[in-house]
């Protein structure tokens, strides 16, 4: 009897998907779709664009599944693909190099101490938000971000540092419950 898809490891599923297994790839989409969509929204993509890029990322991943060797996690691999695709999309508009006004958003920790990362990210400029998300969400190194965004390494480092400083300030007040999950409609 065949092993149920839900019991299979990502690497195993990716191997079968590389051979054209669409059902197996569908299971990978089920497992990681939300993470990819969430990352893209945290990078600043509007919901419709985020979903469009996420779909493109999964289609590209299906084509390139044979290249996934399981050195890292599948989630990290697909997130990097999605992040790079999103950067390509917005690089046409050269939006991220522009410093945009940050929103004067509400504190990102509620009265019972739940942290809302999405809310906290709204307080960052677009460049800071992208750099922080690429670094901590997609797992790209500073030099990789600099290359992907076509920005000097020093600029990327300062965007990350300023972004983290702002996040720290916004996530500090009140007791912090890191384990809480955010819900997006």
């Amino acid at each position: 009897m065949a092993q149920p898809l839900r019991d299979m490891h990502d690497v195993e599923l990716a191997g079968l998907a590389a051979g054209g297994g669409r059902r197996e790839f569908g299971e990978l989409v089920r497992r990681h779709g939300s993470a990819v969509r969430g990352l893209l929204r945290r990078m600043g993509a509007q919901p419709a664009l985020a979903d469009d890029v996420a779909q493109d990322a999964f289609l590209l991943a299906f084509e390139k599944c044979a290249e996934f060797r399981g050195e890292g996690t599948f989630a990290a691999w697909i997130k990097r693909i999605a992040a790079r695709l999103y950067l390509k999309r917005i690089s046409k508009e050269a939006r991220y190099v522009a410093e945009t006004e940050t929103e004067d958003a509400a504190p990102a920790v509620d009265s019972i101490g739940r942290v809302d990362l999405d809310e906290a990210l709204r307080g960052l400029s677009e460049a800071e938000r992208l750099c922080v998300s690429l670094c901590h969400g997609a797992g790209l190194s500073h030099p990789e971000i600099a290359a992907a965004m076509n920005l000097p390494l020093g600029t990327v480092k300062s965007h990350v540092k300023r972004g983290l400083d702002k996040l720290r300030a916004r996530l500090q007040p009140g007791p912090v419950a890191i384990g809480s999950a955010s819900h997006v409609g």
Partner: protein, 143 residues
């Protein structure tokens, strides 16, 4: 929370997967796009294979094969442009040269000599169509 422990905490926050109410729709959209891409590719491959096969057969129809002790010769027949006919002849000669290099030339020649004209034609056409199909598949994989 100190600055030192902040980065891992941020990574943990980023690692939390948000819940989307429309996850099922998203998964269905990806599946639909995968199926569509697969259909388009199948149609393109089939069309390319069919076109290649038709061209190969058309070119072969214009080549007059002659087998004999002097070797394999081919002449372009009427009604076919000379470039296409030359391609057919070159293809035949290349196959023959390959067989000779692998030491199968005489055996293949005697085997082909015992075949009828039409059998010979269809065998060669089949080989060429198979080669074309393999080439198209390989090309599509590289793309």
């Amino acid at each position: 929370m100190s600055a030192d422990e902040f980065d891992p905490a941020i990574e943990r926050l980023f690692a939390q997967t948000p819940h989307f109410a429309d996850s099922a729709f998203f998964e269905a959209d990806v599946a639909a796009r995968l199926n569509k891409a697969s259909r388009v590719r199948s149609i393109a491959l089939s069309a390319a294979g069919l076109a290649g096969g038709l061209i190969a057969v058309r070119e072969l129809l214009g080549v007059d094969f002659q087998l004999g002790p002097d070797g394999f010769t081919a002449h372009a027949g009427g009604g076919v442009d000379s470039a296409g006919a030359q391609a057919g002849i070159q293809g035949g000669l290349a196959v023959q040269s390959l067989l000779e290099r692998s030491g199968l030339g005489d055996a293949a020649l005697s085997a082909m000599g015992s075949m009828g004209g039409m059998q010979m034609f269809w065998a060669t056409a089949g080989v060429l169509v198979a080669l074309l199909a393999a080439g198209v598949v390989k090309l599509s994989q590289q793309i």
